[in-house]
Structures are given as structure tokens and as C-alpha cells.
């Protein structure tokens, strides 16, 4: 792929705007709260788009197109079965406790509801995960730009990191959020033409259906047995593992996304953030997954498009998106698409860095290293942590270059850490009898159960380091079952230990638990500003999509 000068102009223009937004927002920062939590002042349409954009990193964008080609329309379950129901649950049921508790982070909520040890567990594991996610994202992008455009890996990584550092350092979370919205709009604008062009060329959806085996174009019909569908998953593992445990665990407890909603300017806006976010989220599969499915069809049509292959011979799914861009985008639009790709990387990285600096400053530094300092001090620590976070991410990116399979391994580790978490929040928020010891025991044993499952089962060569008791048909199936085991273990152990330990008094838990929290009813809100009507609309649209692509 070769870029023309107009493409470079578009790329430069974008960087200028991103840095300009950071520069303009620098004056808004006068306290650690302004820098790390946006002073809870961001309008709801912005938090909603940022909520979706923070998750739309380069790894997701490239990965979803690849999964489209590998698994077909079943990939959309990550959106229609996974993300959307979890986002609705988060807005309707969980946000009142996060926002109402006045916690500044998810680990801080755990401290208020339970005690120090659960917070420390979550804060440390989350901090480490954010650094590695942002490192992986950077590594993936550097590699992609090197392979596709021949740019130097070092230059791509360092220049992108420098830009992210500049705007997050200047304007803090607000700057990250504002830029995420610009990035989101650019990703949609930059990749929607690709979806339209590639699907059209493949003969529209009808043409795709006619040219592919039926299990690639039906999301539900072939899930009776793992051998019938390309993902190797049966309906129970899909619904319970992905639809419930993993998605709710990610969208409802991952501070990276929760932080965006917590930056909203009122409780009502915070609740609406994930609800409104579902609307763009629901239609993203058409932009990010469909081109991948179309690529598979195009490669069978003798149009001159060959499916990208690895040096070793197998299909290279990571290159699906960029090879399509090279085939369909003329100079100009190619610049917009490439800028969108870099933007997606930056939104993934900035999201991780701004979540990392908040958790480090409030949940690690202020809690264990130096409590009780004046706020000015924590603002400085927040800024320094931003620099350190970016440097650590660069380090993680280079670590990925040293070890070939570290990316796969880390992806497995994230799954293990994420899997049991949702049980802790579910019990903590909705069962006031849950005790601090119960939560901690459940979370630690749940995590251990996840690691044990991974070490005793094998899928596509992963896991089974101790013994190989069971072989899963695919890595997806393994991930989903690990999540189910971890969640169930955490749930059962938390309840059992809670029954034998003393709960806190009701007075201590006001605003933290269901039944002891007054959810304000905003009588002046118009109908479309209330959670219930919004949810009904989303559920109807979601049912239509699932039935359409069943």
C-alpha cells in the first residue's frame, strides 16, 4: 500500500486537531479531580460516545474484521449478545451505586463496599492489565504500519505514544474523552465507505449468503453443537460465558469504560451514558465485522483479491482490514481510513493510560504510599503517572516484540483476571449480606479456579500446562468455560463465606447496596431522558437484529 501526499495531509490535519483539543483544555485543570475524573462535568452525548470509543482500539478494529472472515456473522454476538445487554444492565442497575457512592474509581467503590484487601486486589490487577493492553495495542499498530506501509516500527510506536502523552498530559481525562469522540466519529466516517463498497462488490448481503456456507451467515441457527459452527461453541457456553459472565464482567466492572460514565455531569446523565452508547454500539458490527465477511467472499470471486496469507501458509486474519483498504480506497479516502486506524489505536491507548493514572493515584498512591497530602500534590502525581504510564506501555510494546506468543498469553491472562469479577459486584451491589471476607475469598478462589481451568484444559495448543483433562474444540470455547467456572466458584464461595462472617450494618452501606440506596426519580426529565423508555427502544432494535441474522 502506498500513500499519496493528500493522505499525509489528512493524517497531519488530524494530529493537529487532536493536539489542539488537548491544548485548549489545559486551562480547565486546577485540581486532581479535574485531571483524573473530569470534575464530573462532561455532557452526556460526549460521555456516551466515549464509553463506546474507549473500547474501540486498533486491536478490536483489526480483530473484528479478522473474526468476521474467520467466524462469520457469529462475531456479532460480541455486540448483540454480549455488550448491549451488559451496557443496559450497567446503566439501569449498577450506575446508581457507582455514581451515588461518590467513589472516584471502581476499586474505590470496592473499598467503600467491602474493605482494603479487595480494593488492593482489583487496583493492582487492573493497573497491570491497563499497561499491558495499551502496550499490546501499540505493538499491534506498530507492526501493522511496518508491514503495510513500511514505516519504521520504532517511529510509529514512539510518535503515536508522544501524541497520546501530549494530549492526556495537557487536558487529562477530559482531553482523552473529547479526543475519543473525535476518534469515534472518524472511525465511523473512515470505515463506513469500506463496508458499503466491499459488501456491494460481494453482491450485497444476498450475494454473501449465496456464496458462503450457511453457518457463516447465521448467528444462532448452528449453535446446537460446537462442531456445527465455525466458532466451536455451543449455545450454553455462548450465552452463559460470553453473553453473561465475560460481557457483564467487562462492561460493568472495567474501570476503563465505567470511568467514562462516571465523568458525566449528573446521576441521570451517568445512567444514560451506557444506555445511549448502546445505539451506536449496536450498529458497529456493520462497519467492523461485515467487511471481514465480505473479504472472504471477494477472495472466492476471481476479482483479483487474494485472501492474505501468513508466511507459513495459513490465513492471516489480521491483515484482512488493511488489504481491503488497499483494494477499495483511492488516495484521499485511504488517508481518512488510515487516520481512522491510527485514531482507534490512540483511543485505546489513551483510555488505558487515563484509567491507569486514576487508579494508581487514588487507589495505590493515595491509599498506600502517601495519604493525606494536599490535592495539589495528587495532581502532580497524576501528571507524573501519565508520563510513567505511557513509558511503561512502550516497554510492554517492546516486550511483545521479544516474545513471539506473549500477546496470546496476555489475552489469556486478561480472561483469567476478568472472569470471576462480575460475581463480586453482583453480590456486593444486590445482596447486602455479602461480607468483606466473603468477597475477598470468593474473588481470590474464583481467580485461582480460572487459572486451574486454564492449566488443566487445552484448546488450539493453549493451556493444559499441568495436565490435559479436557480438550476444547476452540480457544473461544475454552475462554467461555473458564469464565463460567470462575464466576460460579466466586459466587458460591462468596455466599458461603459471607454466611459465616459478620455483615456490616445497614447504616454503613447507604448508597452502596440495592435497597439501601435512593435512586433519584427525576420528574422533570422528558420521556426520552428516562432510562425505561430508552431501554425499551434498545431492546426492540436488538431483537430485530438478532432475528434478522438468526
Amino acid at each position: 500500500m502506498k500513500l499519496a501526499s493528500v493522505d499525509y495531509v489528512i493524517l497531519a490535519l488530524y494530529f493537529a486537531f487532536v493536539l489542539g483539543i488537548g491544548w485548549r483544555l489545559r486551562k480547565r485543570i486546577s485540581s486532581s479531580g479535574d485531571f483524573l475524573t473530569s470534575g464530573r462535568s462532561v455532557p452526556v452525548w460526549i460521555t456516551s460516545l466515549a464509553f463506546v470509543a474507549a473500547n474501540l482500539g486498533a486491536v478490536e478494529l483489526v480483530g473484528m474484521a479478522g473474526s468476521g472472515a474467520k467466524y462469520g456473522i457469529m462475531t456479532a454476538h460480541f455486540y448483540w449478545l454480549g455488550a448491549i445487554p451488559a451496557m443496559l444492565f450497567m446503566g439501569i442497575f449498577m450506575m446508581p451505586f457507582y455514581y451515588g457512592s461518590k467513589a472516584r474509581s471502581v476499586p474505590e467503590y470496592l473499598k467503600m463496599r467491602f474493605d482494603e484487601k479487595t480494593r488492593a486486589f482489583n487496583a493492582f490487577s487492573f493497573a497491570i492489565m491497563t499497561i499491558f493492553s495499551s502496550g499490546i495495542s501499540m505493538y499491534a499498530l506498530g507492526l501493522l504500519l511496518h508491514l503495510v506501509l513500511g514505516w519504521s516500527f520504532d517511529m510509529s510506536v514512539l510518535a503515536s505514544a508522544a501524541i497520546v502523552l501530549a494530549y492526556t498530559f495537557l487536558g487529562g481525562l477530559t482531553s482523552a474523552i473529547y479526543n475519543e469522540v473525535l476518534q469515534f466519529l472518524l472511525i465511523v466516517m473512515g470505515f463506513a465507505p469500506l463496508a458499503i463498497l466491499s459488501v456491494n462488490k460481494a453482491g450485497g448481503w444476498q450475494g454473501i449468503v449465496a456464496r458462503l456456507p450457511p453457518n457463516m451467515t447465521h448467528a444462532w441457527r448452528y449453535m446446537g453443537s460446537p462442531t456445527d459452527n465455525p466458532m466451536g461453541v455451543e449455545i450454553f457456553a455462548m450465552v452463559a460465558g460470553l453473553g453473561f459472565v465475560l460481557s457483564f464482567g467487562y462492561w460493568c466492572t472495567n474501570f476503563l469504560v465505567v470511568q467514562r460514565a462516571m465523568a458525566a455531569d449528573s446521576m441521570s446523565a451517568a445512567r444514560r451514558t451506557p444506555l445511549i452508547g448502546t445505539l451506536p454500539k449496536m450498529f458497529l458490527p456493520f462497519i467492523v465485522i461485515l467487511p471481514g465477511i465480505a473479504a472472504l467472499v471477494l477472495s472466492k470471486m476471481n476479482l483479483g483479491y487474494a485472501f492474505p496469507l501468513k508466511a507459513t501458509g495459513g490465513p492471516d486474519y489480521d491483515k484482512v482490514l488493511t488489504t481491503l483498504m488497499a483494494q477499495f480506497y483511492p488516495a484521499g479516502l485511504l488517508g481518512v481510513g488510515l487516520t481512522g486506524l491510527m485514531a482507534s489505536f490512540m483511543s485505546g491507548m489513551a483510555g488505558n493510560v487515563t484509567a491507569f493514572n486514576t487508579v494508581f493515584t487514588y487507589d495505590i498512591y493515595q491509599s498506600y504510599i502517601r495519604p493525606g497530602a494536599p490535592d495539589r500534590h495528587y495532581l502532580t502525581v497524576g501528571r507524573v503517572t501519565t508520563v510513567v504510564g505511557v513509558l511503561l506501555s512502550i516497554g510492554a510494546a517492546y516486550l511483545c516484540t521479544l516474545f513471539n506468543n506473549i500477546m496470546d498469553l496476555l489475552q489469556l491472562v486478561f480472561g483469567v483476571v476478568n472472569a470471576p469479577l462480575f460475581a463480586t459486584f453482583l453480590l456486593g451491589m444486590f445482596w447486602k449480606r455479602t461480607t468483606a471476607h466473603g468477597a475477598f475469598a470468593g474473588l481470590s478462589i474464583g481467580t485461582a479456579a480460572a487459572i486451574l481451568t486454564l492449566s488443566t484444559t487445552v484448546a488450539e495448543g493453549n493451556g493444559g500446562w499441568i495436565v490435559q483433562l479436557h480438550t476444547f474444540p476452540s480457544q473461544m470455547a475454552q475462554n467461555f468455560w473458564i469464565a463460567i467456572v470462575a464466576f460460579t466458584t466466586n459466587f458460591v464461595i462468596s455466599i458461603a463465606v459471607s454466611m459465616f462472617t459478620t455483615p456490616r450494618t445497614d447504616k454503613d452501606m447507604e448508597g452502596l447496596v440495592y435497597g439501601l440506596t435512593k435512586v433519584p426519580h427525576d420528574a422533570t426529565a422528558k420521556w426520552y431522558q428516562r432510562p425505561a423508555p430508552l431501554t425499551v427502544i434498545v431492546v426492540i432494535l436488538l431483537l430485530i437484529l438478532n432475528i434478522w441474522f438468526r
Binding site: 499519496a4 493528500v6 486537531f17 479516502l333
Partner: protein
């Protein structure tokens, strides 16, 4: 700062660049599988979107109800 101003300006500019490419250099850097003038169509869409954001921001500023500090 109203985010609609920088986003609107950005898409207006990109829209104009693509429209210019589509109108004056329709065959420059053409892509193998695309026959339509996609720069022209996408540029027009981005220009309209950019101007729409700017219009919304302008209306909010004139009503004095700017949603952003």
C-alpha cells in the same frame, strides 16, 4: 469548549479535501476494485456532517445554552 466546533471544523476540512480530489483528480491513486468516484461521495457526506455539527454549535452558542463549559 464546545466539542462540536473542532469536530465540525475537522470534518468540514476533510470533506472539502475529498470533494476536491473527487472533482479535480478523480483518477489519482485509484483503487483496483473501486469504479465509483468514492472520494466525491464520501467527501460530500463528511462536509454535510461537519457543517451540521458547526450549525448545532452555532445555534447552542446563540441561544446561550451551550452545553459545554
Amino acid at each position: 469548549m464546545d466539542l462540536r466546533v473542532p469536530s465540525g471544523s475537522f470534518f468540514t476540512l476533510i470533506g472539502l479535501i475529498l470533494l476536491g480530489m473527487g472533482a479535480f483528480a478523480p483518477h489519482m491513486g485509484a483503487a483496483p476494485l473501486t469504479t465509483e468516484n468514492v472520494n466525491l461521495y464520501s467527501g460530500a457526506a463528511m462536509l454535510v456532517f461537519g457543517l451540521f455539527l458547526l450549525l448545532m454549535a452555532w445555534r447552542a452558542a446563540h441561544r446561550g445554552t451551550g452545553s459545554n463549559p
